[in-house]
Symmetry: none
Subunit: 202 residues, 4 copies
DNA sequence: GATGAATGAGGATTCATTCAT
DNA sequence: TATGAATGAATCCTCATTCAT
């Protein structure tokens, strides 16, 4: 009578588990999350979880990687293929992307990397290569393209793409720590972009 | 010849223990630090540590507060009494202060708050009131003073003191996570300050 | 050849553990019994014990309740259904029951309640409701039935069923404290019963 | 201005400490009482306490002995020298003594002996010799004297002086365990005495 | 493949006892 | 003497990981 719960396919399992683990880690952090809790959220047994992930740490790494991989490619592709002018791209897709970061899984990953990164150099390396380097590279290339096209002039900024991301970073941290203190993170990022573009164009 | 098994130094113990705990937490984070390890570093027994701090959590809070309390007052006092012009102050003492933050205990505190803050609202509140609110307030007042004096014009920036701190924040996080990736954090902050002052003065 | 490292016996474990705990508590009392010792006696690991009982105190309560529940019902049922005269019942089943109490688990429970009861009001309440109140009630009803049937006359005794139990109680305490001092506890109880029946019948 | 606290004399110290320990043990039992708590109640330092009592156990034994020694002699002396008839003595001084036991330090001692006795055979022996044997002996001698004087007849009771004490014992236990359940312990003891005397005189 | 019962090393905390002052 | 800071063995409890079923 009670129809059997939808029979998940084997190949979905790892993703379901990392998704459950992501939620749990997001709520409680790595140390305070019990493997049993992850299994429960994923609707599988502890034993099965260990069939896919040898240790809690391996699960942790898989979580970070899965979030990272899913998120970054879209933006990067965008950069390469867009037909927008540099300013249009920066004010449009880039700004939009940054605005949603503080409320996205990326913010959680940042929190986890800050807590656990020092003990996982390989994970940090992975994150750097796949997210940070590519993100900074994309911004750099965009600025350079703007210069080549005569949209922007040379300036110290073109070698400090980090400045585009700094308010986003502050917003992420703010949201993590001060969950109940208001901060207009959108305004913050918009103002920074305005300022950077003013500098680049003057 | 026969050195005593221990010394009675009631006055100094709490500081010695929080100092040792700070080091240990800085290296390994809260969860991975064993109370015994803290005691060892402080050169005392586990039992003595529990004489001064009822639990590991209370020790943690004491560590955070002791770092915070010792650090902030200097800058804040400076703000109130300086005779420098707004620009001079910002380019001088404020910038200097910010430059040393990523390598200072404050960076460690930030890391710990990101990891453990969500489970310690009172600590977050304490940090907000004593550091963040005062720091942002000081910057705001400085900008306003500059406006009153005719040094600066009105701009969106005067309501977003966070923009002064954003590169510092990014630098802190960068150092925590990417210990072995170079980043010229001084340049980053200088450039941001340049940009902000340009905007404020134009 | 290679015997399994352990057996899965979910059904039996709780009983085995409470039985082992009963033995350990009987020998050493609550405070002096280590959880590890209970686990050892039960042939399980500490961890498993904590799977079934959240804390040592909960285990303690379970032990008390398990002993109590198993023991009392038999006598009480007997009271309700017996066809013996009041005197026959008192001299027969009731006396037999009382005689075996000092050497039974009930004596251990009494010892544990005396030691730990003051810190476990709920346990005391449970014991009162399930053992003491029912036991006293049964005796009272028996005496009243004797009066109704004309076997007994009215007397102060009919409102003090405790007098039937007093020598049993003294015997229990005697055995707990003076393990190596002889006392003819059977004779003690028989004599008391004789005396009470003489009074009731005269 | 604040006059120095009355300067206790050295010779009073041990008694003050055992008195404080008695209170603490009475409230919390042996295991749950901290030595520091005893010292605090006695108004001395832990160090000083250890000057008088080598260990917590030795303190415990001293407490038991001090209570016992102070209490028993009065009654025993009374027995030897009284000019009352046997019945008068039993209904008078003996009954009065028994009535106050459940609310007296002796009840506490009984509780402590039940909890800790099994691990302190010497203490049990001391208690048996000084209290139980003498108490039972006194009752026995009184009954025998009654028989010699023709007040009482021979009966099984004369060899079971415990029957005089059984309701007192039950009352003690009742008060320890069921602190908030009423029981007319006086009536209980009076009725038992009535019953015993009736048997002895008939 | 799945499950979750079972393990046991690890870590926080307590408290009787010692001993420098 | 007198103090109470300091010690460290003892013990409860947790949780990642294993493995019988």
């Amino acid at each position: 009578m009670n129809k059997p719960r939808y029979q998940r396919r084997k190949e979905d399992r790892p993703q379901e588990i990392t998704a459950a683990a992501f939620e749990a880690f997001a709520e409680n952090g790595y140390a305070k999350t019990r493997v049993e809790e992850v299994a429960r959220r994923a609707g599988v047994s502890k034993g099965l979880l260990y069939l896919y992930f040898k240790t809690k740490e391996e699960l942790f790494k898989a979580v970070i990687k899965s979030v990272v991989i899913r998120r970054v490619d879209a933006l990067i592709d965008n950069v390469a293929t867009t037909e927008l002018s540099s300013e249009e791209f920066i004010r449009g897709p880039l700004l939009s992307f940054m605005k949603q970061v503080p409320g996205s899984p990326v913010a959680v990953v940042i929190r986890l990397l800050i807590s656990e990164g020092p003990r996982h150099p390989d994970l940090v390396e992975f994150y750097y290569e796949n997210v940070v380097a590519r993100g900074l590279g994309a911004i750099t290339r965009f600025v350079e393209r703007g210069i080549e096209r005569g949209e922007f002039r040379h300036s110290a900024i073109s070698e400090l793409p980090h400045l585009f991301l700094a308010p986003m970073m502050l917003s992420v941290i703010w949201r993590i720590i001060f969950t109940n203190r208001k901060l207009d993170t959108d305004k913050l990022m918009e103002t920074q972009i305005d300022m950077l573009l003013t500098q680049l164009k003057t």
